[in-house]
């Protein structure tokens, strides 16, 4: 888990530096601060399980196992990218590792995770799907429709609401009618819990319970992770226009990576040297990812016309 937590952090910090030095990577939404949510949930999943993500999806991708060099190449608009330069930050997808897509149409990923859970149930594969969404996405009608479907069909899906307090610049207490988004689980007869989304172990424990319930065929659960995004909504957003420095500092004081590190050291599960070695290996991995992205080829104009229609696959009936 520490490997994934720090890999996400390193990826995002490097990306921020690249953006600030003028590397054109398109529109990006940094995940920094929320790492415990993605890592805690994905640690409770199997490699064959599915996730569907939001616009702020780099962390989910890495936590589920998307290779960082293919992500970085995608952001650079190179043909070696996860989506062959067609998607960019807001569409990173890797179905080979069960990552059904970063999705910038708010709430839509939730419906797709429900579909993946339906697929698992119909095909009897025992896979589970996790649907990540924000507290902003919790207001989308389709999210509620999807939750109801999952409940009536007892689908193996877990709904993971990352409540980072802000939908762009709109605070959650303004936009949501209930004190806790987890309270809404009652409307769909499913368990709902609120956990500290900056505590990786707490997220993992809650996710493990929900995943087990889903795998047993008992239906969906809702987990609300209370978290915080350290930076703006996207790379150009000035957070000082809507939140206080004190609030930002308080969130950083509860940093999930520092916390996890302390937990590991206190319980003598890992030594400082081992933790440092993980960080340093990740640093090199990101160096390599940037080098890979930089040296990869740009697409050719003719690539514009590839993959527009889905072809027939060999062996399928005409």
């Amino acid at each position: 888990m520490y490997e994934r937590l720090t890999l996400i952090r390193e990826f995002e910090e490097r990306l921020k530096w690249l953006v600030e030095t003028g590397v054109p990577v398109g529109a990006v939404h940094y995940y920094t601060g929320q790492e415990a949510c993605a890592v805690g949930v994905c640690a409770a999943l199997q490699p064959s399980d599915w996730i569907a993500s939001t616009h702020r999806g780099h962390g989910h991708c890495i936590a589920k196992g998307v290779e960082v060099h293919r992500m970085m190449a995608e952001l650079y608009g190179k043909t070696t990218g996860s989506n062959r330069a067609k998607g960019g930050s807001m569409h990173i997808t890797d179905v080979r590792v069960g990552m059904l897509g970063v999705n910038p149409i708010v709430g839509m990923g939730v419906t797709h995770a429900v579909g993946a859970a339906l697929s698992a149930k119909v095909r009897k594969t025992s896979q589970v799907a996790a649907a990540f969404f924000g507290e902003g996405g919790a207001s989308i009608g389709a999210v509620h429709e999807a939750m109801n479907l999952a409940a009536i069909w007892k689908l193996p899906v877990i709904f993971v609401c990352e409540n980072n307090g802000y939908a762009q610049a709109t605070p959650v207490e303004y936009a949501v009618s209930v004190p806790r988004i987890a309270d809404r689980a009652a409307a769909y007869s499913m368990p709902g819990v609120t956990v500290d989304g900056q505590d990786t172990v707490a997220v993992w424990e809650a996710a493990a319970i929900a995943v087990e319930r889903a795998r047993r065929g008992e239906g969906p659960s809702l987990i609300e992770c209370m978290t915080y995004r350290y930076y703006g909504h996207h790379q150009g957003d000035d957070t000082t226009r809507y939140r206080t420095r004190e609030e930002e500092q308080a969130a950083r004081d509860r940093d999930c990576i520092r916390r996890f590190r302390e937990q590991m050291l206190d319980q003598q599960l890992l030594t400082a040297a081992e933790l440092d070695a993980i960080e340093s290996a990740n640093n090199k991995k990101i160096d390599a990812a940037v080098a890979f992205a930089e040296s990869s080829p740009l697409p050719q104009p003719c690539d514009l016309f590839t993959d527009v229609y889905v072809p027939a696959r060999p062996g399928e009936p005409e």
Binding site: G77, A85, Y174
Partner: protein, 353 residues
């Protein structure tokens, strides 16, 4: 109109001024949308007006009109646009912002089945003075542009699917001047009007805008450059490409007329047909994809009603029939630019490469 100082305003500022001045005039006008102000409910902490929409067109309105008339919404397009429809049926004149036109998928029923049809199917019982503002377009490979590199679901030019719907007026301003005038006209219109504002123009275009209130009529195209050899018909940002091309064609002795379509529905056929009757050649330039597009609708109408005036086949220059790609290289190739328009004109004259 009395002569007052004409300042340079950005496209976004011009829309802001139109809304502000109209809101002062009519207390029934409200603004709704995601982060049209931002930091909602945080005034006690000293935060108001944190965002102001993607083009900053609503920035500052909340400080003048307060949160009762400038309403930040949750992310719930189907819900709040529906509330806009209901409010318009019952005495208000809502201006609803759908942040990007790509998001109309989330609220299309409110546009297609509800707003556009209410007046007709209720036998004229209700007016529907609703304005929907939304940002559209690619960065066209320009790395400096806000909203650039946003990929297939945040870069579209989805106006054909709106212009297709009877009962809905669809306008696409191209300058700060006509953005203000068309916004005022849209607010005063008693039916639903959608205004599509190009992201590139929204933050970059500047131009002279009179301080006083004025209107630019909906349903009227404008000839922005006179010429005799070919009509270049542009929509939104593409009008600027047409003007640029007209300049370079002049250097080679081709005198192009540029028509800014401005309203896609109802379309001002007369101005286009009249222009073509003089120039006898037509190139329509449209950033939307080609199938069932406004460009081909214009071409079809001219072919039907002005065929005898044509000396050459009609050309359309559009985005290709693909989703918008992410990579800047591909996006630049995707977005119609001067080179394609010049090539189309050269084909009409049988010249060039």
């Amino acid at each position: 109109m009395t002569a007052t100082a004409v300042r340079e305003l950005s496209f976004g500022q011009a829309i802001n001024e139109a809304i502000r001045q109209e809101m002062r005039r009519d207390a029934n006008i409200i603004v709704m949308g995601e982060d049209v102000a931002g930091a909602a409910g945080r005034a006690h902490l000293g935060f108001v007006d944190a965002w102001g929409g993607p083009l900053r067109a609503t920035r500052g309105l909340i400080t003048e009109f307060g949160p009762e008339r400038i309403l930040d919404t949750p992310i719930a397009e189907m819900g709040f646009l529906g509330a806009g429809v209901g409010a318009a049926m019952s005495g208000l004149r809502p201006i609803v912002e759908i942040m990007f036109v790509d998001l109309i998928g989330c609220c299309y029923d409110q546009i297609m089945n509800q707003a556009a049809k209410m007046h007709y199917m209720m036998g004229g019982q209700v007016d529907l003075p609703l304005v929907i503002r939304t940002a559209y377009g690619t960065r066209g490979g320009d790395k400096r542009t806000y909203g650039g590199g946003a990929g297939a679901q945040h870069s579209q030019t989805l106006y054909a699917v709106l212009a297709h719907i009877p009962g809905l007026k669809v306008v696409v301003p191209s300058t700060a001047y006509n953005a203000k005038g068309l916004t005022v006209s849209a607010i005063r219109d008693n039916g639903p009007v959608i205004i599509l504002e190009h992201k590139f123009l929204g933050l970059r275009a500047k131009g002279p805008v009179p301080e006083e209130l004025y209107t630019v009529p909906i349903g009227r195209a404008e000839i922005v450059r006179r010429g005799r050899d070919v009509t270049l018909c542009g929509i939104g940002r593409m009008t600027h490409i047409c003007s640029e091309v007209a300049e370079s064609l002049a250097a080679e002795g081709i005198n192009a007329e540029v028509v800014d379509v401005l309203t896609l529905s109802p379309l001002d056929e007369d101005t286009i047909l009249e222009s073509v009757s003089r120039t006898r050649r037509l190139v329509v330039v449209d950033e939307d994809t080609p199938v069932c597009s406004v460009a081909r609708d214009i071409a079809a109408r001219v072919a039907e009603k002005g065929f005898d005036n044509l000396d050459a086949p009609i050309k359309t220059v559009t985005a290709p029939d693909t989703p918008v790609p992410f990579s800047a290289v591909l996006e630049a190739h995707y977005t119609p630019g001067p080179a394609q328009v010049i090539a189309a004109v050269h084909e009409l004259f049988g010249t060039g490469a």
